[in-house]
């Protein structure tokens, strides 16, 4: 089937089988390997992308279902001015170790801050609760999101 999706601001027309998963279209057809496949069974959140701004697990959605949608992957977080506040936060607070879960973590964090620019620690932990990290114990991930929220409030300066 022919589908049209906008990924990170660029329009793409793809010919996909209905059974092609969105994550495979992103990684295989578009070559954007920042979206990871972890469990492949809707449990870990490593494949998180934003579809029309909403975080979802791209291993549990068919590419044909994204026809006409705007998809944001980790490659789309960096703006014209460089890394986004969330990306800077993960760097500043060392919010990762192996980095495998990090794209998903940064996308749910981006969606959270869009909706709630001043989240409490509980809000952050709740928002990332569908994304599993096996390294950090989540402490520095929470700090990274708090750093990004503070930076955004201070107009891009470090919080």
């Amino acid at each position: 089937m022919q589908i049209n999706i906008n990924v990170n601001g660029t329009d793409h027309s793809l010919d996909v089988e209905p059974r092609r998963l969105l994550v495979d279209a992103i990684r295989g057809d578009l070559g954007l390997r920042g979206t990871h496949i972890g469990c492949d069974t809707t449990s870990c959140g490593a494949c998180t992308v934003l579809v029309d701004g909403t975080p979802i697990k791209s291993c549990t959605m068919f590419a044909v279902q994204a026809d006409g949608s705007a998809v944001t992957t980790v490659e789309g977080l960096k703006g014209a001015d460089g890394l986004s506040a969330v990306q800077q936060g993960f760097s500043a607070e060392h919010g990762l170790q192996c980095g495998f879960c990090t794209p998903g973590m940064m996308l749910v964090s981006t969606a959270l801050l869009e909706e709630n620019p001043d989240p409490s620690e509980d809000d952050i932990r709740w928002a990332i609760s569908g994304n599993i990290c096996r390294c950090t114990g989540y402490v520095n991930i929470v700090k990274a999101v708090q750093w990004a929220a503070a930076a955004a409030r201070n107009g891009g300066e470090e919080g």
Binding site: G45, M61, G130, N131
Partner: protein, 288 residues
Amino acid sequence: MYPPAFEYQAPDTLEGALAALAELGDEGRVLAGGQSLIPMMKLRLAAPSHLVDINRISDLSYVRRENGSLCIGALARHNDVVGSDDAKASGVVSSAAPWISDPLVRNRGTVCGSVAHCDPEGDWNSVMLAARASVVAQSSSGSRTIGIDDFIVSFFTNSLEPGEMVTAVCVPIPSGASGGAYMKLERKIGDYATVGVATQLELASDGTIAQAGIGLTAVNYQNTRASAAEDLLRGETPSDELFAEAGAAAAAASDPQTDVRGDAEWKRNVVAVYTRRGLAQALASATS
């Protein structure tokens, strides 16, 4: 992993979906949120030959009050219920919504899809039993309403006929003082319930219990109504002793299996404790 090949259509009207399902009969399967169906297809536990995707039928995406009921349309996501003021009309529904799976699944999965899936480890059917919900089933030849007790047939089996789909699930909004709670024990967010208990209480004007609803998750081959416990409660004055008795009766209605989440006897005890606590919480919100 990728699922077996299938034919796919995504009609943008309900009529279009019903026409497709009528033509496909047994071969057609509705794809709503896909958060259970797609993993099952990837694991080759399900292999539908045709999927009718209802995600483009935006008319079905509602959570609203209708004629004294709270109705949830076929495309309402779990998270739509979390954020809904109307859903607060049913304490047990609004209490359960934030505990469905994890935030990413809640953004995509649907309440009606979960109800239709009839997974005994799914949360919503226990909630619907406690709230005495009705399922609205439509086909190209008409519509019918099925009580939740009749809708749930068995393990992963509902009472829909070929060509029918669930278009809404509705719970009656209690007229008097009422409260509800969903108590869920899970190892981590996103895991299936080890044990879940849904409770709802409606009080008469004299403070006695006019109606009680108790639904049990993951402790039987289907979501189970604890009828004997409900019978104990109805007409009585609420008390800690009464709630403890109801807890024991609910535990007796459960038949959990020993598995990686715990042994059967312990799970039965959790049913007793969660029923007692859920009823106390339901009473507290009914009288606040």
